[in-house]
Symmetry: C2
C-alpha cells in the first residue's frame, strides 16, 4: 500500500484483512476472476476508502469482522471503476503496474469489473443495513453519470468550474462521503455524527481529486505511474486548465485546439496553464476543501481515530503521487 500507512501499523493490518476478504470472495468463484482480482489488488494504492470505513467505525462500537466486509465491498466498488476506467482510457499502466485490460484484454477487464460491482452489492446486501445498500447503488449511478459527463465534455474549452466541481463530487467525493457514512452508521453512531463524518469525507474527497488532477500535470511516470499530462491528451480539462482559460489571452485556447500530444507540445501547454495561474488557483481550492475537512475533524470526539484523520488530510494535500 505504497507505505502510506507505515505509521499506522494497526490500520495497515486491518487493511490487509480487507484484502484477504476480497481474495476470499474471489476465490469461491472463477479461476480467471481470482487471478484478475489478485492482479488488481497488487497494484492497488492507498486503500483510502476502506481505511475511511474502518476509521469512521471507530467513532462507534464496531463489529470488526462486519466492518472489514463492508470496507472490502467499498474497495471492490472502487476496483471495479478502475478496471472499467482503464478500458475507457485504453490505459496500459496504473501505478507502474500493467492494467488488467492491457494484461488480459478488455474482455476480461469488462467482466471482472462487472463481477466486482456485483460482488460488492452482494456483500453490502449481506453485511450492511438496507439503507446503506441503497446509498451504495445511488453512488454507483452517480459515479457512472459523472464519468459519462467527463466523456461528453472532452475537448470543450467552455467547461465551467461549477461543472467540474459537480463532476468530481460525483466521481470521487460521493464515495469518500459514503465510506465515512457506512463505517459510522454500521457501528451505531448517531445521525449527527454520521452526517459530520459524511461532510468530512465529501470535503476530503473534493480536495483529494483536485490534487489528483494537479498531479496529472506535475507528476512524472515514476511517481503517479501515469505519463504526464494524460488528461490533456485525452481532452479532459480539469481545474488547472479551466481556471487558466479564464485568464487566457488566446494562446492557451489555440494550443488546446491543436490537441497537444507530443512531449514538447504538452510541456508548452502545461507552462501556459501554470503562467495563467491555473496551478496556483487549483492548489488554493484544494487547500480550501482540505481546510473544511480539517475543521470537521477538529469537531470530532478526541482520540486515536481523529489524530489519524488529521494526519491523513494533511498527507493527502501535500502528497506528490
Amino acid at each position: 500500500m505504497s507505505g502510506f500507512w507505515d505509521e499506522q501499523p494497526e490500520l495497515a493490518s486491518r487493511l490487509e484483512e480487507v484484502k484477504r476478504a476480497i481474495r476470499e470472495r474471489a476465490h469461491s468463484d472463477d479461476n480467471d476472476v481470482e487471478a484478475s482480482v489478485g492482479q488488481l489488488l497488487e497494484s492497488n494504492g492507498k486503500m483510502l476508502r476502506p481505511a475511511f470505513v474502518i476509521l469512521a467505525s471507530q467513532f462507534g462500537a464496531p463489529d470488526e469482522d462486519r466492518v472489514t466486509r463492508i470496507a472490502a465491498a467499498v474497495e471492490m466498488l472502487h476496483m471495479a471503476t478502475l478496471a472499467h476506467d482503464d478500458i475507457i482510457d485504453s490505459a496500459a499502466f496504473r501505478r507502474g503496474v500493467a492494467t488488467l485490460q492491457a494484461a488480459r484484454g478488455p474482455r476480461t477487464a469488462v467482466l471482472v469489473g462487472d463481477w466486482l460491482f456485483a460482488s460488492c452489492f452482494t456483500m453490502i446486501a449481506d453485511f450492511a443495513a438496507a439503507e446503506n445498500s441503497r446509498g451504495l447503488s445511488q453512488i454507483v449511478a452517480r459515479i457512472c453519470g459523472s464519468e459519462v459527463s467527463q466523456s461528453t465534455d472532452r475537448h470543450k474549452v467552455s467547461n465551467s468550474v461549477r461543472r467540474y466541481l459537480r463532476r468530481i463530487a460525483g466521481k470521487t467525493a460521493a464515495l469518500f462521503a459514503l465510506s465515512f457514512h457506512v463505517g459510522a452508521h454500521e457501528s451505531g453512531c448517531g445521525p449527527e455524527l454520521c452526517s459530520q463524518l459524511r461532510r468530512l469525507g465529501y470535503n476530503l474527497g473534493m480536495g483529494f481529486q483536485i490534487i489528483d488532477d494537479i498531479l496529472d500535470f506535475e507528476g512524472f511516470e515514476s511517481n503517479t505511474g501515469k505519463p504526464m499530462g494524460q488528461d490533456l491528451v485525452e481532452g479532459i480539462y480539469t481545474l488547472p486548465t479551466i481556471l487558466a482559460l479564464k485568464n487566457d489571452d488566446g494562446r492557451l485556447r489555440s494550443e488546446l485546439a491543436r490537441r497537444p500530444r507530443s512531449r514538447r507540445a504538452l510541456s508548452r501547454t502545461v507552462a501556459l496553464i501554470r503562467e495563467r495561474g491555473g496551478m496556483e488557483g487549483a492548489h488554493g481550492m484544494a487547500q480550501r476543501y482540505t481546510g473544511r475537512s480539517l475543521r470537521e475533524i477538529s469537531r470530532l470526539p478526541c482520540g486515536q481515530p481523529r489524530t489519524v484523520l488529521e494526519m491523513v488530510a494533511q498527507k493527502l494535500l501535500h502528497r506528490n503521487r
Copy 2:
C-alpha cells in the same frame, strides 16, 4: 418488440410502460446516458424478462406500478449485460441495429452499462423487498462469472456438456428464474407458488439459451441480426459443437483447430456438426427443458397468465430468431 407480443395487446402495453419507466429513469440523468439508453431500447427484443415479472405477478395481487418498476429494473440489468457483451464480442450489430459500442464507442458502452447496472440496483432497492435486492446482486455476480468462464473456455474442444449447462444456467436461466420469482414474490404469492414459478423460469431459460445457441448456426443475418456462426468464429463452443465432438471421427476437431473464419470454412464446419448429430442432440435437449417448463405451467392455477405462458414456451421453442 419484434411482434412477439402481438396477440397479447394488454401485455404489450404493459411492456411499453416498462420502456417508459426506463426512459424516465434515464431522463433525470445525463444527456448522453439518455440518448444511449434510448438507442438500446430501440434495438431491444422480445422483452421476455420484464414480461415474466409481469406475468408471474398476476398469480398474486400485484401493485401494477411497483411491478412495472421492478420489471424495468430487470430489463435494465439485461440491457447492461448486452451493452457489455457487445464490447466483449466487438459486435457491430445486434438485431440488425448498430450496437452502442459501434455507434458511440466502447467508452460510452462501458459507462452506460455500468449506469444501467447501478440504476437497476437503485430501482430494486427502492421498489422491491431486501431479499429480492440481494437475489439480484447474486444473479449479476453469477452472470459475470459465467461470462468469464465462457471467455476462459474459448477454443477448448474438451468442454463438457455439464460445464456448458452450468454456464448457460448462470448466463441465462438464473435471470429467467429470478424474473419469475420477484414478480410472484412481490405480489404476495406463497413460497410454494414462488418456487414453482422459479423452476418454470429456470427450465424455460435453459431451453431458450440452447435454442439461441442453435440459431447461431442456423440463423441468417436477416433473422437473428448477427452473422451466422459467430460463436464458432469467437471460439465459443456451444451445445451442438460439444455434442458433435463426442461423435467426432477427428475431422471436426481438425476443422476447429484451423479456427474457421471464412464463410466457406464455417459452412463446412457447421455441416460437420450437423452430420455428427450436434443440432439434433441440442434440439432434443432444448425440447426436454421446454417440456419440463410446460409441466410446471400445467400445474399452475388456471387463467389468462397460464395460457399466455403456455403460448410463450411453445413460441420460444419453435422460434427462428
